[in-house]
């Protein structure tokens, strides 16, 4: 147990496990590619190689290289090296979750309202800024985007019910 303590009190998933997990995901992806290729035909058709010909071999290569990576991770990697410790992962998830909600909400609320909420959330949650500054920046950024994209470059961005109410 002494050598584990040399990594002090950092705890978290081992690098090795994550590498194995990633390699397994890639193998799964390779299998999906091979399955899809066989569906459309991997042989030789009237116009030469069929649609699945090229992806089929890609799938094989993905699986072969991923198995190599998997074996290497399993036997060679330093067993104690951490992928990241739990506090770091908590930081990362605390970005992923709000962003995931954000991208799912964009089609309903429109990009402007969602962006105001996202920026305000980040500034309040991580930065603990006062409401004045928070709202100022949260509203200014989408407003500038609106002027730049919709008015100058005439590129429409997704809008929701609130923009409809305002008649934008």
């Amino acid at each position: 147990m002494t050598d584990i303590r040399s990594y002090s009190d950092r705890r978290g998933p081992a690098q090795r496990r994550v590498e194995i997990g990633v390699a397994l995901l890639m193998i799964l992806f390779g299998l999906v590619v091979i399955f899809g290729s066989i569906q459309v035909g991997i042989g030789w058709g009237a116009e030469g190689p069929k649609s699945g010909f090229f992806p089929f071999y890609l799938g094989i290569l993905i699986i072969v290289t991923s198995i190599t990576n998997l074996v290497r991770a399993a036997i060679e990697a330093d067993r104690q090296a951490l992928f990241a410790d739990w506090t770091q992962l908590a930081q990362v998830t605390s970005v992923i979750i709000p962003t995931a909600i954000y991208v799912l909400v964009v089609p309903w609320l429109g990009i402007y309202v969602s962006s105001i909420i996202l920026i305000a959330f980040f500034m309040k949650w991580f930065g603990r800024y006062g409401w004045g500054l928070t709202l100022g920046i949260a509203i200014a950024v989408p407003a500038i985007t609106y002027v730049l994209f919709e008015m100058w470059f005439l590129i429409p961005l997704p809008k929701g019910p609130i923009e409809d109410l305002l008649g934008l």
């Binding site: 459309v40 030789w44 030469g48 190689p49 090229f54 890609l58 072969v64 990576n69 930081q91 991208v103």
Partner: protein, 504 residues
């Protein structure tokens, strides 16, 4: 001589006030992108690509390539002042740049960095001017097998020259190719790998992948490290600039060597990052001040910056002349060409003279303008970096989302962007390289088409790739590049290694 005439014609196009304005705007945006963590050259250009849809292709490429130069310049600012490389290729600049700043010589370090960047880029642009038309003329004779062999060479260089484990490089690359294959098959017109999802009909757009992998992925990495910026003040005044300029010619040998290394690494798609490290390492070994490297030696700033800029610029050579981009950012520019309705590749030099020579002329001017701009505006950009990450991060997320949406006006792409972002974070942490994956998504369709057309002509025999001297030579170079580490490490290693490689 024809080239000189064309080049001057190009200058005439670039010198129009509107284009000069775009150049300045592009460089300023580029420096901001280079300074901010999470916004790199590739995804910065990808996000801003939609803004150029309404411009003429020449104006558009001037703006986008200037964003790229700006990003290359900008990376140096954060490295020197904050010891945070804004871009991977400026990591080597921190080794000596930041110690110089700590000693109060930030102005000197920045001047040296910008000037070296400028020298490296200028060298690479001259190489492009002289070599690209020749390569393009030569490449006009290429048939499908030759085209495929060029792609083969490009991808083998990634495997052999990259610092990541080769099997991880291959895996990442093949996943890129597989993603490119999703959707409509260009040759037979059949749908494949869509599994009945209508969202997948048009396949995966590499711009979404770039914004996700590089933009969102980078933010997640930055969040994990919990960055707090502690920077040195930057003061650049004309006196420091002139003093540094007077000192720089002493390092002409380092400079020249770094230019050559940079150009070589940029054209073979190893890219700016390895070029900067390699150049720093060689300068450290060969310089008589080598033992003082790492403690704030100006030569240690000159070497990586020159090479990084030379590589970043020369990465456009194969993109222009062959249609094979040398870096992810060059790939995004190539994607831009396709969107503006231009076909990248050798024909560009014949059919779109204005465009090509306008771009090359803008490289000369853009770097001059860039050097002046960055030297005068450093304090401003250093101030941007002092804005806390809790404000910058959501703004970058919003910009990435807007960029992803505008590619195809699809909210599904925004979701996809986040998926690519999480994927990018995981892959980066497990040392899978992202650049070959992105290039594979970009070039997948073309490489496959060339491969299948070759096989069609040869009735399925792979001999077609060795059928004449030209294609055989390029394929052989590819094989050498693929096994480069083994070739390098001598015969014993070669024998042990080829047995292992042969098993794939």
């Amino acid at each position: 001589m024809e080239e000189v005439v064309n080049l001057f014609h190009g200058f005439a196009v670039v010198i129009q006030p509107f284009n000069i304005l775009l150049m300045v705007v592009g460089i300023l945006l580029g420096v901001i992108i280079g300074v901010l963590p999470g916004l790199g050259g590739a995804n910065g250009v990808a996000i801003l690509l939609p803004l150029t849809f309404s411009m003429t292709p020449t104006s558009a490429i001037i703006m986008l390539s200037c964003i790229y130069w700006g990003a290359l310049f900008g990376g140096a600012i954060t490295s020197v002042l904050f010891n945070i490389p804004g871009e991977p290729w400026s990591v080597a600049t921190t080794f000596d740049g930041h110690p110089m700043a700590q000693k109060g010589r930030a102005g000197e370090a920045l001047t040296a960095a910008f000037t070296s960047s400028f020298v490296g880029a200028l060298f690479a642009v001259i190489v492009i001017t002289l070599v690209a038309p020749l390569v393009a003329r030569f490449a006009l004779q290429f048939g499908p097998p030759e085209k495929f062999s060029v792609y083969f060479l490009a991808f083998c260089s990634f495997i052999g020259m990259g610092k990541e484990p080769p099997f991880k490089t291959i895996a990442a690359m093949m996943i890129g190719f597989a993603l490119a294959a999703v959707g409509l098959d260009n040759v037979t017109g059949q749908l494949r790998l869509t599994f009945g999802f209508p969202e997948l009909l048009s396949g995966f757009d590499f711009l979404i992948a770039v914004i996700g992998l590089f933009g969102i992925g980078e933010i997640l990495l930055t969040m994990e490290e919990g960055l707090s910026f502690k920077g040195k003040a930057a003061g650049i005044n004309p006196k420091v600039v002139l003093q540094t300029w007077a000192e720089l010619p002493r390092y002409w040998m380092t400079s020249l060597r770094s230019c050559v290394i940079g150009c070589w690494m940029g054209i073979s798609p190893a890219g700016a990052t390895p070029a900067s490290f390699m150049s720093y390492g060689i300068a450290k070994r060969l310089s008589k001040n080598g033992h003082r490297f790492g403690a704030g030696e100006i030569e240690g700033v000159v070497a990586p910056e020159t090479a990084a800029h030379a590589a970043g610029t020369s990465a456009l050579l194969p993109m222009l002349s062959l249609g094979v981009p040398g870096s992810p950012t060059a790939a995004v520019l190539l994607g831009g060409l396709l969107i503006w309705g231009l076909q990248p590749g050798p024909l560009l030099f014949v059919e779109q003279k204005d465009f090509v020579w306008g771009l090359i002329a803008s490289m000369y001017l853009g770097n001059v303008v860039g050097l002046i701009l960055v030297l005068t505006t450093v304090p401003l950009f250093a101030a941007i970096l002092r804005v806390p990450f809790s404000i910058i991060a959501p703004i970058i997320l919003v910009l990435c989302a807007i960029g992803a949406f505008t590619v195809h006006n699809s909210t599904f792409d925004v979701v996809l962007m986040l998926v690519f972002g999480v994927l990018g974070y995981l892959l980066k942490k497990c040392s899978y390289p992202l650049a070959p994956m992105v290039l594979a998504i970009v070039l997948g369709d073309k490489a496959e088409e060339a491969f299948r057309q070759s096989l069609l002509a040869s009735q399925g025999s792979l001999d077609v790739f060795w059928s004449n001297g030209l294609v055989g030579t390029i394929m052989a170079l590819g094989v050498v590049a693929l096994f480069w580490p083994l070739v390098q490490n001598g015969w014993t290693w070669l024998r042990a290694g080829s047995a292992r490689q042969a098993s794939t």
